[in-house]
């Protein structure tokens, strides 16, 4: 099978190939001119269709020109030989760490293939003692529930970083060679600390197939139902779904989605909720004051407090956040435990894990963004395009809509999520958390964020496969271009031959 990297060029080639056909048709409409001294005695017959001369070399010339255009289009389409049809394979890597322990049963449901797959490769990644995870390959069938329960991580299990999961994904997927398509699935509940390298790994890796990240809705404390959080979305329908999806990827379980702008969760829901996240989506003009009110951020702001940012500050920040007056009113006690366990709600955790100190009037001095302060999440053209506004207990993600701008679609969703996560990485990097990640990645050898290092990964089967694919694509491209060149030479030769014949014919006609 041949896979095209840029199928649009194939269509462009098809359009280009139609040009010679049009030219031939247009030229065929030209009348054949012949001399006849007694032409004045002819009965004019303009209605009759002029017979089109179709010599074999003309047909050959037409086919050559069409083939040249098609070959050039196909060459630019980036064809790659991906082997014969061998079906599909589903590779599932399950995070068997502390993150998925509360939702282990739900993880099993997510680990199975969605549809019929010719091959299933299932593996668990357990946190190791020295930080190096252990890869446990399972059979090609999903274990039964009892067996699955036995595989559940124990209470002392640590976190599994996304980098570990990606590396495990490579190892397991390496066994599924020769398939037409490869569906890779990672079942995890990522924390913000794990996202940075993972996102870069996703962004920088040349994965031959599609990677699907499945994030189950998890309670923030063991034994708590997933509905412990309430998300109130104040947005129009498409953006509401967008934000809800974003929150799902961010690890926020959204049980209640209020509909319509200005909707509010009822008081009972908020009272029962683990926490309340309010999302407000508005237009740019309504967010203008928000941008203006945004306090200075960045290294200057970071250096103001002079404290060393890092993961160690999470607990401190969490404790200080709990000290806020509004937190006492709106946050249930369970959230304290969640924050203490490092599994605090992602919206807040994002702001806490970055270690950034956002100065604000009357705010707690360190580690906690002031109520009403703004952290830019997205930047477009150097200016903030979306922002998270920090309330005492709420986090408003503001998505500005520029008048006239198209509604965000599914493609924009991917861009949005990537930008959100990129921003998270950047914030975390500025906070110094990157050092820990980098150390981790260097230790496990994934080389996240560095494509050259990813290609030099001794276990990088994916990288090797990509090189093979790239070489096959290059050879196919060269072959097509060489074919186009050869056909071009043949076209020139045929054209000259036809021109000479036409000249001779003209001389004979003149005689």
């Amino acid at each position: 099978m041949i896979e095209l990297a840029r199928p649009a060029y194939l269509w462009a080639g098809a359009v280009l190939a139609s040009v010679p056909v049009l030219l031939h048709l247009l030229r065929a409409r030209e009348r054949v001119r012949k001399p006849l001294p007694t032409a004045r005695f002819l009965t004019p017959d303009p209605r009759r269709r002029v017979r089109i001369h179709r010599r074999p070399d003309q047909i050959l010339l037409l086919l050559l020109r069409m083939s040249i255009a098609a070959a050039i289009g196909a060459a630019f389409a980036g064809p790659r030989w991906i082997g014969p049809a061998n079906g599909t394979a589903t590779v599932v890597v399950v995070d068997a760490g502390a993150a998925t322990r509360p939702v282990w049963e739900a993880v099993r449901d997510l680990a199975g293939p969605d549809g019929p797959a010719d091959r299933l490769e299932l593996a668990l990644v357990r946190p190791g003692d020295a930080g190096a995870p252990t890869l446990v390959r399972l059979d090609s069938e999903l274990p039964g529930r009892e067996s699955w329960t036995e595989l559940a991580p124990d209470e002392q299990a640590g976190e599994v970083r996304l980098g570990h999961l990606l590396r495990a994904l490579r190892d397991v997927a390496g066994r599924s060679t020769g398939v037409d398509s490869l569906s890779a699935r990672i079942v995890t509940v990522p924390g913000w600390a794990a996202w940075g390298p993972g996102v870069r790994e996703l962004r920088d890796s040349l994965w031959p197939g599609r990677i699907e990240l499945v994030v189950p809705a998890v309670p923030r404390s063991p034994g708590t139902e997933p509905r412990a959080q309430t998300v109130v979305v104040q947005a129009d329908a498409p953006l509401r779904a967008l934000v809800a999806t974003a929150l799902a990827v961010l690890g926020v379980a959204a049980d209640t989605l209020a509909t319509g702008a200005g909707a509010e969760a009822d008081g009972d829901d908020e009272a029962d909720a683990d926490r309340v996240v309010r999302l407000r989506v508005g237009r740019e003009e309504s967010l203008g004051p928000l941008w203006q009110a945004a306090p200075p951020t960045g290294p200057e702001a970071d250096s103001q407090d002079g404290s060393a940012p890092g993961p160690d500050r999470e607990a401190e920040a969490g404790s200080e956040r709990e000290a806020g007056p509004e937190a006492d009113e709106r946050r249930p006690p369970d959230s304290t435990a969640a924050a203490a366990s490092g599994r605090s709600a992602v919206a807040d955790a994002f702001l806490l894990l970055d270690g950034r100190v956002l100065p604000g009037a009357g705010s707690p001095p360190r580690g906690i963004p002031s109520p009403g302060s703004t952290v830019p999440l997205l930047r477009t053209g150097g200016r903030p395009a979306a922002a998270a506004r920090v309330g005492a207990l709420d986090c408003d993600i503001a998505l500005p809509l520029t008048p006239g701008a198209p509604i965000l679609g599914s493609g924009d969703l991917a861009v949005l999520l990537d930008a959100v996560l990129r921003e998270a990485c950047g914030v975390a990097e500025a906070a110094g958390a990157e050092e820990a990640w980098r150390a981790l990645l260097e230790r496990d050898g994934t080389g996240a964020g560095d494509r050259s290092r990813a290609g030099s990964d001794p276990n990088g089967r994916v990288a090797a496969a990509d090189v093979r694919g790239a070489r096959a694509g290059l050879s196919l491209t060269r072959l097509l271009l060489a074919l186009a060149l050869a056909m071009g030479v043949a076209e020139i030769w045929t054209t000259r031959r036809m021109h000479d014949r036409r000249s001779r014919s003209a001389v004979e006609d003149r005689r």
């Binding site: 054949v32 012949k34 006849l36 001294p37 007694t38 004045r40 005695f41 009965t43 002029v50």
Partner: protein
């Protein structure tokens, strides 16, 4: 012995570089006794020596030969018939056409035919002249007044051989190439040739008579010549395609003499085409024949021998007055 017609097709004659040879082949193909023997006697062109006989005029005694050989011989001369024949070969653009299936253009066919007829006429003692229209200003490109002698015959053949597209205009000091004639040039050439002919002369016109701009001018000169007692011969040369016998392909047909005129059609499948063509030539040949001008029709793909044979059989274009 009479040679079959198909032995001397126009393609064969056209391939001969020597036009006199081609003309002689045609004449010899007529068979013995067809053409008249040359008149020997008073004339300007030396024919041969003959031993002196009693009664011969001593003025014709070759004294130099007597001094060298000590024998008496008299000089015999080719006697001119006093019939001046001027050939007019139309070299207009319409004559430079061979048709789709032909190899010999109408002009080349006219040249071959003029050479063969000239050979026969000269053998009969005629004095030959030649006028070829196609000058750059509508005037004749070549004018050879009728004169006896072999030198004139050579010049006659040379001028014929030089006639054609891209050949030199022998009358112009600049000697530019002759690329067909101008409209009306045939009528001018006929007027020019009429001035070259004494009374009792003969005008032979080889053309397709498609000088459509000036048909009246073409008809005027033969009428004047006939009125004063001269003979006239008109040989119409057409290609099969021009006759509507070929050209089954639909195309945009362009008149070479008027390139701006183009008509779409199919000559071979156009009944109106042949009718209009016949009507046109009836309008040309009718008045000419009424004046006593002999009208011949030739096809450029046919061997010229039958026409030459017919020419001789009918008295070389001479008519009783």
């Amino acid at each position: 012995m009479t040679v079959p017609d198909e032995i001397l097709p126009p393609e064969l004659l056209d391939g001969l570089d020597d036009l006199e040879w081609a003309a002689r082949m045609v004449a010899r193909g007529l068979g013995p006794g067809i053409h008249t023997s040359p008149f020997v006697g008073q004339g300007e062109e030396f024919e041969r020596h003959r031993p002196y006989q009693q009664g011969d005029d001593l003025r014709h005694l070759d004294w130099r030969l007597l001094a060298r050989t000590d024998r008496l011989h008299v000089r015999r001369f080719r006697e001119a018939s006093n019939v001046h024949t001027v050939f007019v070969v139309d070299a207009s653009a319409s004559m430079d056409f061979a048709g789709t299936g032909g190899d010999v253009t109408k002009l080349r066919y006219a040249v071959l035919l003029a050479a063969a007829l000239g050979y026969v006429a000269r053998s009969g003692g005629d004095v030959l002249g030649l006028v070829i229209p196609g000058g750059t200003r509508g005037t004749p490109a070549t004018i050879l007044p009728p004169r006896p002698g072999r030198e004139r015959w050579k010049a006659f053949l040379h001028a014929l051989q030089a006639t054609g597209p891209g050949r030199l205009d022998t009358t112009s000091p600049e000697s530019g190439p002759v690329q067909g004639g101008l409209p009306g040039s045939l009528a001018v050439a006929l007027e020019e040739s009429a001035g070259l002919l004494p009374r009792g002369g003969r005008l032979v016109v080889l053309s397709d008579f498609l000088d459509g701009q000036d048909v009246d001018g073409v008809l005027r000169t033969p009428g004047e010549l006939r009125a004063r007692g001269d003979d006239g011969v008109a040989i119409r040369i057409l290609t099969p395609e021009g006759l509507g016998e070929a050209g089954g392909e639909h195309a945009l047909w362009t008149d070479p003499e008027h390139p701006e005129r183009s008509l779409p059609g199919t000559p071979g499948r156009d009944p109106g085409y042949r009718a209009r063509l016949d009507a046109y030539y009836d309008a040309v040949s009718g008045p000419l024949e009424a004046l006593g001008v002999s009208w011949y029709e030739a096809r450029s793909t046919d061997p010229p021998l039958p026409l030459v044979r017919r020419w001789i059989r009918e008295g070389s274009g001479r008519r009783r007055r």
